[in-house]
Amino acid sequence: MVSNSGLDLEEEHFDENECFHQETWEDGDLVVKSTRRSTRPQLQQKESGDDGNTMNMLASYYGLVGEEEATRDEIDQADFQMQAHVRQLLKHDDLEALLRRDDELVQEVKRLDSDMQMLVYENYSKFVSATDTIRVMKNNVNDMKAEMDSLAKNMEGIASRMQVVNSFLGGKRAKVDKLVSVRRLLKRLDFLFDLPINLNRCVQRQDFAMAVTCYVKTINILEEHSHVPSFKSIQRESDQIMAGVRDELQRRVRQPTEDGFPTSPAELALYVRLLLELGVPKEGLKTQMLSAYNARFGKMLAALQKKDEERRAKKTSNGEEGGGAGAEAVAETVKRWEKEFVQDLEEALTLFRELFPSVNDVDDTSVTNKSREDDAELTELMRTLVSRHYLVSVRRLFQANLALIARSPRGDGHEFPVLALSIFLRVVRRLHRAGRGAGVLEAGVRLVLDVVRALVFLEVRGLQGLALRRLLALQARQAASLSSAAPSFAPRHELETFQTSTTRELARALEALQGVVQGVEEGIQAALLEAGEVASHASPLSGSGMKASGPAREGVLYSEYLIPELGMGQYVFQFVAWLSDAVERVAGVPFRLSENDLVEVGEVRRSVFPERFFAHVSSFTSLLGSGQVEELGYPSSAVASTALPQFALLLAVLCRDLQSTLWPQAMATLALVFPATMSTSEGGNLCEGEGNGRNSGYVDGGTSSTSGGLNRLSPEDVVACLKGSSSRLLQHCTETLGHDLALLSQTRGLDLASVAVGALEVAGSVGGVTQATWGKTFIVRMEALIKEVGATLGVSVTGVGLSGGRRGERADLSRTPGPFSGMKGLHLDIERIFTAKVQDFGSPLGLTLDQILFGTLKAACKAVIEWTRQDTMSQRTYCQLMVDVHLVRQAVGTYVKDARVVETLLDEVLISAGERTAADGLQGVDPLALSALASAEYSRLRTSMLSSSASSSAEASVLSPSSATASSVRR
């Protein structure tokens, strides 16, 4: 129990110490102490409030562990109540627990005892050592006092001696100081007085730099003392000299190439720098320097060019130049020029930039509009210089090869242009580096792009020329075969040849262009990337480097100038669209029809190829240095208008086939060679569409066609072009064929009217008619036409026409033999009411044999009707017409499926003729006899046709019953 109470005291004491510490640290914050003390009671109070009270009571009743632990913990607390604790232990714990608790407490007490003992010992030993130290210190202090006294005495001695020396030297020092200053002044004066002489000497030595340095150093002093007359005169004198120097310098800057003055850019830069130091205004100097550069480099270029021309003249006189043979030599020349000219220019630019920092290099705050303008001057100069350099050097390369390129669109001569362009781009990059955003890059890239475009143009033009020549050759061959009736002309084969060769050439051209584009593109990319680095804060190019966004200059350049019509896709599209135009022109179809209006083919060509495209052509060719680009040899419209309708048909088929073969193949090649053309998202390709945020590419034809005044084509446009051409050509063909057929009736009719007056008496004649006349020719022509059309379409014609052996289904039906006896019957009126009121004689037809024949027959019949209506005929002519019409009518069923329409038209011919015949009409003539005559004629004709074609197409007619033929014809 005693130990317990002692412990309690100890604890109390420690706790109080702790609290004291806290108090001192917290500087009198007494609340801290109280909080610590009151934490638990507060907590307890909180717990015992409300429900907590009952909880506690219950807990204590059941003797919960928490209560005991809490009390056990409190053994270390200050308000520990020993008695209560013991009571509690005795009350709740069993004997064993009590014993264990006792042991614990005893051990704890022992541990605490030993701890305390140790503390006491430690403190005691420290105290002992401290006492020892204090004793030693006491002894040392006693010795020190004597030493200090002697030191003080010595110091006093030193001080007194110092005073003596000082007083002795005092007067002399002031004198020396004065002397020194006087000497310095004298020296300076000496320099000043000698200044004019020195300056003159420097001027004589041409050492302007020294002169300027001296002058600049002294001028301020002279200015300061200008009230002294002698100084004033010196100043005046030296000013005069320096004015002379300035004039001399400016003269040299202004006319650096005269009188053998040294004119290297370095010296020029030196002069300019000196002038700047002399306070000459910057702007004027800049301009002067630029003009000096201009003159210098201009002369240089001119000299180079002259030299080169001389050499070339020598070469041509030696007969060496031919084709691309001299290309390597030219490349050598270009390289040499690069050394001579470009190095000089580069140096000049660097020096210039040192004197006049670029806008981009200066902080934004100091950039004024003025300096921007000056930069524009430099830009302008560089642009001219670069393009002149190009004209002299790179163009030279082209001239050597242009003939080669223009002659063959096979890309043979493209290595040299690419070489030249890459050399040129290298030059541009060097100059750009030296000039730091002086517009060199822009000018250079523009030039290069123009050249590329020109190459593309040449390629396309070459392709056009080839295609056109081939078309004309095709026309000639077909015309020859038709006139000589020698079936050496195989239309299908010819068409395929045309297509395959054109496709092949297109692909080859594309591949060749790919080489050019890639070669150049790398250079441009590198250049633009570099530009992005050099002037990154002025023109931030986006990460990819090529997909420029925002108003960056290079970005704008790239997107606005480089891209739009350089898209290879566009060139291919436009080529195909052109082809469909050209085909129409060659065939003599003079216009295309829009909804209400007609557009001439020429106009279409202009809209297909944007105005800008043609505006470029002249600049292209001048850039390339060649004379002219070969004009496309269209036949004159007079020649074209006489083109055979069969040729139109052939070309109609060609257009259809182009759409199904060449076009997809071209697209495929395009996708292969210029993959970027096909994808709209990827940047970094020359063929890419506009960059500025717009979703570029030709795919969205809506925006692209309206953008920038360029008429860009979409693939759908091209297909529409081909389709339109095809149908127009077809229409042209049927119209002309129909007209020609109709003319048959006219000429024959006239012949008969004038010749056979006494024919009425001929035996076996009906109404003076013995046989069919033009009807036979009509049928023969139709038969020939079927063969031609069939061959062109590549379909089997067996079963069509008389010689095909098919008896027309319509004719098989038991119809009235014809509208004889005038045929003004009611049923015809009814028929007319139900047929379309506005008949269509020009509707686009399907490209099938049936439709072509149908269209031709319709056009022919309609023409005959109209002619007949203006005529007045004799009875005999009428009878003749009847026989012929009936003959044709019988054959019609074998030509077309929908013979009914044609038959109705033929009936109308007879009706019209009947109306235009004398009032007595068929008086005295038996219509049935005429009909019989025609039928006999028909069967005769048929037999002869069949027998003539039997040998050639016997097996074919066996093989193809009419149903199979129908399907093949219908396709």
């Binding site: 003079p590 001439e600 004159s636 009719g749 009121k837 008949q839 004689f841 007045t872 004398a918 009032a919």
Partner: protein, 429 residues
């Protein structure tokens, strides 16, 4: 036989005979009157010259009078000054072709509404039925000289007191007729042109199968041939139509063969053929059908042809090809007519049974401006009139209202139509 039917906005009249020519009565600026000439070969001698009158109040087209005409009428050319004078060109079987100036006795315009609607409703427009005996009886009786007309209309008019619808031949122009030379009507006069009003007052040009002859009319009784021009038909093709340049009293354009011949009547002979279209040697493939001058814009004329196209030309620049082309027909364009007052409007008709009304503003004397359609109003086809069931050979603008026009198809159907008000206001405002 008369029918007045509202037919998709158009007024339709079915003439009895096949007819090829229609012309507005140019001298009559108060009534919408049109001559229609019948051209039935077999109908001789029943061919008639009909005078049709359209009334805006009743929206009806009625036959004002009918004149018996010898032979089939190929061309009508009313005097621009005197509404009672009119040239016709005709042929008769077994006789020489005629070109005659007639004086017609004109009926008064009726002020009371014509016959009751119920009767009109019963008469449907119809195509050619020429052999109705009753009709024949009527016409015969008329030709016998009673002046009686057939059908209810005729009786109605008799009641109104317009009894003496007769015509009196004043002048017959001489016509060469060599039947062997040309087909299709021999030497008949293809067209007669009245000279423009000023200097050529009293001048008439008749173009026949061979020549163009210029006559001076003396009074209304005699015509003196002043000069004639050989047109070289053998070489250049047949004459189809002609038009007198309203801006030049000496110039005439003749549609001949595939080209246009410009005739300067001060010259001794016919001048060279102007064959246009960029040295291809023709204006229209296959042939030119009609020519008409722009009344408001000098040197400008329009042609229609067998290539389905309408082409606009400038005489000064024919070598450069047409100023403009239009395609709106499915077959030959037989006739083209500029509106005499508003050259934005053009009529065309052809053998595809179609009549087209165009607004060609861009090359007119006063291009229209439409803010919502860009700087200039586009050239459009305003109407495509499909009321005909036969080839349309003639159209003409009314002399009284520049926005009214009539067209005639081969079956005798006359359709009167008006320019839609929206278009009208576009031009007027």
């Amino acid at each position: 036989m008369i029918a007045q039917v509202m037919y998709s906005g158009a007024v339709v009249y079915g003439a009895k005979n096949q007819s090829r020519c229609l012309a507005a009565v140019k001298g009559d600026h108060e009534h919408h009157r049109f001559f229609v000439g019948a051209a039935g070969l077999r109908d001789y001698p029943q061919n008639e010259l009909l005078l049709l009158e359209y009334s805006e109040e009743t929206n009806k087209l009625r036959e004002a009078s009918a004149y018996s005409h010898p032979g089939e009428i190929w061309h009508i050319s009313p005097s621009p000054r005197d509404s009672s004078l009119c040239f016709t060109s005709s042929t008769r079987r077994g006789a020489d072709p005629l070109c005659t100036l007639w004086r017609l006795s004109l009926p008064e315009f009726p002020h009371s509404p014509p016959s009751s609607p119920s009767k009109d409703a019963g008469d449907m427009p119809r195509s050619t039925t020429r052999h109705s005996p009753t009709q024949q009886a009527f016409t015969t009786s008329f030709l016998a000289g009673e002046g009686a007309k057939k059908g209810t209309k005729a009786q109605h008019r008799l009641i109104k007191g317009s009894r003496d619808q007769s015509m009196e031949p004043l002048i017959t122009l001489p016509v060469d007729n060599d039947p062997n030379k040309s087909r299709g009507g021999g030497g008949r006069v293809r067209c007669v042109l009245w000279g423009p009003e000023q200097e050529t007052n009293g001048k008439v040009l008749a173009v026949d199968g061979e020549k163009a002859r210029l006559y001076a009319l003396q009074g209304s009784s005699d015509a003196q041939e002043m000069s004639n021009f050989d047109l070289g038909v053998e070489e250049k093709g047949e004459v189809q139509a002609a038009a007198w340049d309203p801006h030049d009293p000496w110039k005439v354009a003749i549609a001949q063969g595939r080209g246009i011949r410009h005739l300067d009547m001060r010259m001794e002979q016919a001048t060279g053929m102007t064959e246009t279209e960029q040295s291809s040697g023709f204006c229209h493939r296959f042939g030119v059908k009609d020519v008409d001058f722009n009344h408001a814009k000098p040197y400008c004329f329009v042609t229609g042809g067998e290539d389905r196209l309408i082409k606009f030309w400038d005489i000064r620049r024919t070598g450069q090809g047409p100023v403009k082309r239009l395609a709106g027909h499915a077959h030959w364009v037989w006739t083209v007519k500029y509106n005499p007052c508003h050259d934005q409007l053009l009529l065309s008709a052809g053998t595809d049974n179609l009549v087209n009304l165009w607004r060609i503003s861009s090359i007119s004397s006063a291009p229209l401006w439409e803010p919502e359609e860009g700087p200039e109003a586009p050239d459009v086809r305003v109407l495509a009139i499909q009321d005909h069931e036969e080839s349309v050979y003639a159209v003409d603008w009314s002399a009284c209202d520049p926005f009214l026009f009539a067209s005639l198809s081969y079956d005798g159907r006359v359709v009167v139509n008006a320019v839609p008000p929206s278009e009208k206001y576009k031009i007027l405002l």
